[in-house]
């Protein structure tokens, strides 16, 4: 079964800490995404990667950066965590071949609490 694995399901960090959220997919997908999910707001795109070492800002990139050094791994970085970054973070991947159909495969999510 194909998978998107997010390394941490639950994290608690303090304001100002640097936070790494890791995502690994085993499907050889070119596209990878980071979303944050908040009640009533649905999913909002933070960053998108077309392929290795390529990235594009989404709708809410402020306060975040990303890294994609290998095809299977897409990391989300909070340089200095703030309380308004408390949220559920979802990683997803997609094959270029199915990009029109937009069949994204999602990880189970990482719930981050910033104190």
């Amino acid at each position: 079964d194909v998978k998107v694995t997010q390394s941490s399901r639950y994290l608690v960090k303090r304001t100002g800490e640097k936070v790494f959220l890791e995502c690994v997919q085993d499907m050889d997908h070119e596209n990878m995404f980071w979303y944050r999910q908040d009640p009533g707001l649905g999913l909002r795109l933070i960053y998108f990667s077309y392929d290795v070492k390529m990235k594009e800002k989404g709708d809410i990139p402020e306060g975040y950066s990303v890294s994609r050094e290998k095809k299977e791994r897409f990391s989300l970085i909070l340089e200095s965590a703030s309380t308004n970054q408390t949220s559920m973070y979802l990683c997803a991947s997609r094959s270029v071949l199915s990009s029109g159909a937009n069949v994204l495969t999602f990880g189970a999510g990482s719930r981050l609490t910033v104190l």
Binding site: V4, N31, Y35, P39, G40, L41, G42, L43, R44, L45, F48, Y50, E56, G58, L90, A92, V96, S99, G100, A101, N102, V103, L104, T105, F106, G107, A108, G109
Partner: protein, 115 residues
Amino acid sequence: AQSVTQLDSQVPVFEEAPVELRCNYSSSVSVYLFWYVQYPNQGLQLLLKYLSGSTLVKGINGFEAEFNKSQTSFHLRKPSVHISDTAEYFCAVSDGKAAGNKLTFGGGTRVLVKP
């Protein structure tokens, strides 16, 4: 810019009753529409999609949706729900079929099926 509005944040429904989840969108280009479902403590998975052709789209688990271009709607329906349909449902719109297109999600509708 495209946007998606899900008119109901929560929908309680009794088992074996019908359910309709409303979704309206706005976009300046041709749209491709999707419904994703998120079961408790899981990531999202694709329920159904409209890319072209018949405006009535059938998905998994007995769900269907109808694309109405004049009303810019893509409502999701199921004639008889089960307890296992308790989940959050997200409507989404894509800005095209080209590689690199991105999804915009609505705020989600939480369905609670009661026995």
